[in-house]
């Protein structure tokens, strides 16, 4: 019997209006029997099923309709229907997942990730880790640069004991964060994984490597010791231990480990190089000659006769009477070998870099030029310094020292392009001098500054093709030591000088750092001077020079917060830290926030001229309003250099310090605000009132009274100064 569709629809509507949903369902089901593809009727039924509590059927109908829409390419409609389904079953991971897929189809990646996020959360709650892993992998494909997704994925693999998969993801995290120069964040992540994995060996090795790379050799050795207690033969850990002992100047420990490793592989040129370096540092010519002799033989076995000859020459420099070397080189060559002179360079024909590989120009000429450039730098005439150094590069294009000075000059001036250009030159010189490790490191540092630098990428691929997969492992094999006394290692924010053990000789890095701080101080750039000194203090905590200079600049230990790690600040602000684990998506978002804040700050730093004091001030206010207090102080400090903004900036700094309960800093900032030239009486009264208020809060009634009194004298109408004075008088009278 034919059905009048319109009549049935009217009936259904009437039932709905009366709240008789079951009867309405009956009517629509009649229509659906006639035309099962009628989407409008199906959706009405889904709605009614939901109203009468037939949730499962409601969801089933919605899913079928959504799938139909999706097949036809109507993703927006499919999104709406999945949302309708979710109202009936909000705890369904598959619905959230499907919704996410529809968003993804519609190019709404952020919304897609949000929906997937719900699904992952539900799957984990339900113990369906494998499904959660699949979904996180899908999220990763949508947002390949999102490190937080990888962190979650790694965590899930770890929970499931899938160590191979975990290690693979961890490798990606390492590659990404190192590539972005975010080693500190990486350290937090790996430290967390180390705890969560119950000190799994693969995580331990990565952690140790990272500590070494970050210059925290002492901590690295603690981790290494733990690993070697479990597996004394772990070669990677022993190599890391060797590197750490060398940096820490623990030559005997380094020698013991190097000899142990060498016995396992007597032709390992890297180890021989280390043994030679250790012998040289210990002043043991016999052992130095022995190391070089072994190297010469190893090169001989490889058929590299020029290198063989080179190292036999070195043997003779260490031990001129060495019969084997004489025999190998022949009488004619032996006659040309100069007698060794302590502290001199390696002599003719030796390609070792001694920091002054000058070309045709005389060394004196170069030294004179360098001195001139230094002088220009000291007096802040950077253009002239640059011109001089450029002139010198033309005289001696392969002189690493000149290139380094020029590079550092660009770094100070924030000239990224110039820095990269010079670093590429330096790397190239290293390559041509067969100093592949230094070259590799130089290229890596370029990628930290300029991640897409094609030349560096190409060079790294050439030098170390496997680096793309295992960057940390590549780093673990390098411990170059040369006569320069200073080894440069990569670190966040640039390069860091690490003193190389050599008896009592003062480290150049310390001297250079002090000179740099002096340079800043002479130009009135106190903040930069303090920052430089604080960096030095981290490396040379016992240096009285550094401490004295810091004190001279008015720095106090508790004032350290001006240079805090942004990440720690943000995480602390949010009340979470990576060390607490990655449980739940709140942390996921916090991790994202950390990334965003970092990216924002670096983006702003690139665009904002230092002389735009007004904007620095406004940015300080913005950070303060968000509770990013240390960032706010940094911005206010910059703006305080402007005579026009100084009073407001110092006053704002004082407020932030008060929020941080840093009373002394607040007082100092207010005093600076008070001393700003051009203050009117009203301005001074306002600041004096604040000083009084601060003193009263600190319990110093006398000082408070004096300040209020001075404020009242300048401007009797300043706030409630009269009342405050009366109140203080009463309090003082009562004792």
């Amino acid at each position: 019997m034919a059905i009048d569709r319109d009549k049935v629809a009217r009936n259904a509507l009437r039932y709905i209006q009366k709240g008789q949903f079951h009867k309405a369902i009956g009517e629509y089901e009649k229509v659906l029997k006639l035309d099962p593809r009628d989407i409008r009727v199906r959706l009405k039924l889904a709605d009614l099923y939901g109203r009468v509590g037939r949730k499962r059927e409601a969801v089933d109908v919605c899913v079928a309709v959504a799938e139909t829409y999706a097949e036809q390419g109507f993703y927006v409609k499919a999104i709406a229907v999945y949302k309708q389904a979710l109202r009936n079953d909000p705890e369904s991971p598959s619905l959230w997942r499907n919704l996410g897929e529809m968003y993804a189809k519609h190019q709404l990646v952020g919304d897609a990730l949000g929906a997937f996020k719900h699904a992952v959360d539900l799957l984990r709650d339900q113990g369906l880790n494998a499904d959660a892993e699949d979904l996180l992998a899908r999220m990763e494909s949508l947002a390949p640069d999102n490190v937080a997704i990888k962190v979650h994925l790694a965590e899930l693999f770890l929970e499931d004991g899938r160590y191979d998969a975990f290690d693979e993801v961890l490798g990606k995290i390492v590659l990404q964060l190192r590539g972005e120069g975010r080693s500190r964040k990486l350290l937090k992540a790996i430290s967390t994984f180390y705890e969560k994995s119950n000190h799994h060996p693969s995580v331990r090795n990565r952690l140790a490597e990272l500590y070494v790379d970050l210059g925290e050799e002492g901590r690295a050795l603690e981790v290494i010791a733990e690993g070697l207690a479990e597996d004394p033969d772990d070669r990677d850990l022993r190599l890391l231990a060797l590197r750490s002992h060398l940096v820490l100047g623990q030559l005997e420990d380094a020698r013991r480990i190097a000899l142990g490793l060498y016995e396992e592989d007597p032709e390992d040129l890297f180890l021989l190089e280390q043994l030679a370096a250790i012998a040289q540092a210990r002043g043991d010519d016999r052992e130095l000659a022995s190391a070089y002799r072994s190297m010469a033989k190893a090169y001989g076995h490889k058929g590299l006769s020029d290198k063989e000859e080179l190292y036999y020459r070195k043997v003779l420099e260490a031990e001129p009477g060495d019969a084997e070397a004489r025999l190998a080189l022949g009488d004619v060559i032996v006659d040309t070998v100069p007698e060794p002179v302590g502290g001199e360079d390696w002599g003719d024909g030796v390609t070792e870099w001694d920091g002054s590989a000058a070309g045709p120009a005389s060394r004196d000429e170069i030294e004179e030029g360098l001195l001139e450039a230094e002088l220009y730098l000291k007096y802040g005439i950077e253009e002239k310094a640059e011109a001089k150094l450029r002139e010198l590069t033309e005289l001696a294009p392969d002189d690493v020292l000149i290139r380094q000075k020029l590079r550092d000059l660009y770094k100070r001036g924030g000239n990224r392009q110039g820095w990269v250009r010079e670093q590429l030159h330096i790397a190239d010189i290293f390559v041509r001098s067969n100093r592949e490790n230094e070259a590799l490191r130089a290229y890596q540092s370029i990628l930290e500054v300029d991640p897409g630098n094609a030349e560096a990428i190409k060079a790294i691929q050439y030098l170390k093709p496997d680096l793309v997969h295992t960057p940390a492992a590549a780093d673990a094999i390098e411990i170059p030591i040369d006569g320069s006394m200073v080894e440069f290692v990569d670190e966040e924010g640039g390069e860091r000088a690490v003193p190389v053990p050599a008896g009592d000789v003062p480290p150049d890095a310390l001297r250079d750092g002090l000179a740099e701080a002096e340079f800043y101080e002479a130009r009135g750039m106190t903040d930069e001077a303090v920052q430089t000194l604080l960096e030095l203090r981290d490396r040379y905590p016992d240096s009285s020079h550094v401490t004295a200079r810091l004190e001279r600049l008015g720095w106090q230990k508790e004032g350290d917060g001006g240079f805090v790690d942004l990440q720690a600040e943000v995480l602390d602000t949010a009340g979470l830290s990576l060390a607490q684990g990655f449980e739940g998506f709140q942390d996921f978002e916090v991790s994202e926030l950390d990334d965003i804040v970092s990216e924002f700050k670096s983006g702003i730093a690139e665009r904002l001229e230092e002389g735009d004091f007004e904007t620095h001030y406004n940015l300080g206010v913005a950070y303060r309003e968000m509770g990013l207090l240390d960032d706010a102080i940094q911005e206010f400090r910059v703006s305080a250099r402007s005579p026009e903004k100084a009073r407001d900036a110092y006053a704002s700094m004082a407020q932030v310090y008060r929020e941080q309960s840093r009373w002394d800093d607040a007082r100092a900032a207010l005093r600076q605000a008070l001393g700003v030239p051009g203050n009117t009486d009203e301005d001074r009264a306002a600041v004096l009132y604040e000083l009084g208020d601060l003193a009263e809060e600190a319990g110093d009634w006398d000082e408070a009274f004096q300040n209020f009194e001075k404020a009242a004298a300048l401007d009797p109408g300043v706030r409630d100064v009269g009342g405050r004075l009366r109140k203080l008088q009463t309090s003082r009278a009562r004792g």
Partner: protein, 193 residues
């Protein structure tokens, strides 16, 4: 709560433009920045991702003259609208004095509006705030979109919050100044009290 700095004699008022992704928050700020006289505005700080989405926040400081000897500075912020950046939005709302909720009038974004409104409500709760008493206005943006929904439909999706409403086409400046002026008045009235 507005920051009052007695030493610098400044009152800093924080206004946040909130709303779903791509609803036109940054467009609002850009228009205000382009049209405001130089003496009234500071430099606009705005960073966008490669896909032109707001990174962290946009920031536009504006000077509104003096009240009782204090410089009144309005700081206009936008939040990143994408669902994923909840933590950023929460941080930016800290210390907020007023909210312009920018709703996207396009039919497709109806749910996004409702979700964003709910997100705003939750984030404010985090700071023990709610609308009202926190001053807020609703700006229905993209009124020129071919599939723009009627205002009552969007209002209903937001739960009919009973706030002052403005219709806008932000790129053309239609309805851009009005919601800000209204909100500024409400905020200043509270400050005066």
């Amino acid at each position: 709560m507005a920051f009052v700095n007695y030493s610098s004699r400044e009152i800093n008022v924080k206004i946040v433009y909130y709303g779903p992704g791509l609803c036109g928050k940054t467009t609002n700020l850009r228009y205000l920045y382009d049209r405001a006289p130089d003496r009234l505005k500071g430099r606009m700080i705005s960073l966008a991702t490669e896909t032109e989405r707001t990174l962290f926040f946009d920031f536009l400081p504006m000077n509104l003259g003096k009240i009782k000897g204090f410089n009144v500075r309005f700081h206009l912020y936008t939040v990143p609208g994408q669902v994923f950046y909840g933590a950023s939005r929460k941080l930016i709302l800290k210390g907020v004095d007023g909210v312009v909720f920018v709703a996207d009038s396009q039919a497709l974004r109806l749910d996004a509006n409702a979700e964003s409104w709910e997100d705003l409500r939750r984030n404010l709760e985090n700071y023990n705030l709610s609308i009202p008493p926190l001053p807020a206005v609703i700006q229905y943006n993209k009124r020129d979109a071919p599939d723009a929904l009627p205002v009552p439909v969007i209002r209903k999706a937001l739960g009919d919050p009973g706030l002052p409403e403005f219709e806008s086409v932000a790129p053309d400046g239609i309805g851009v100044f009005e919601p800000l002026k209204h909100l500024a008045r409400d905020v200043l009235n509270i400050l005066r009290r």
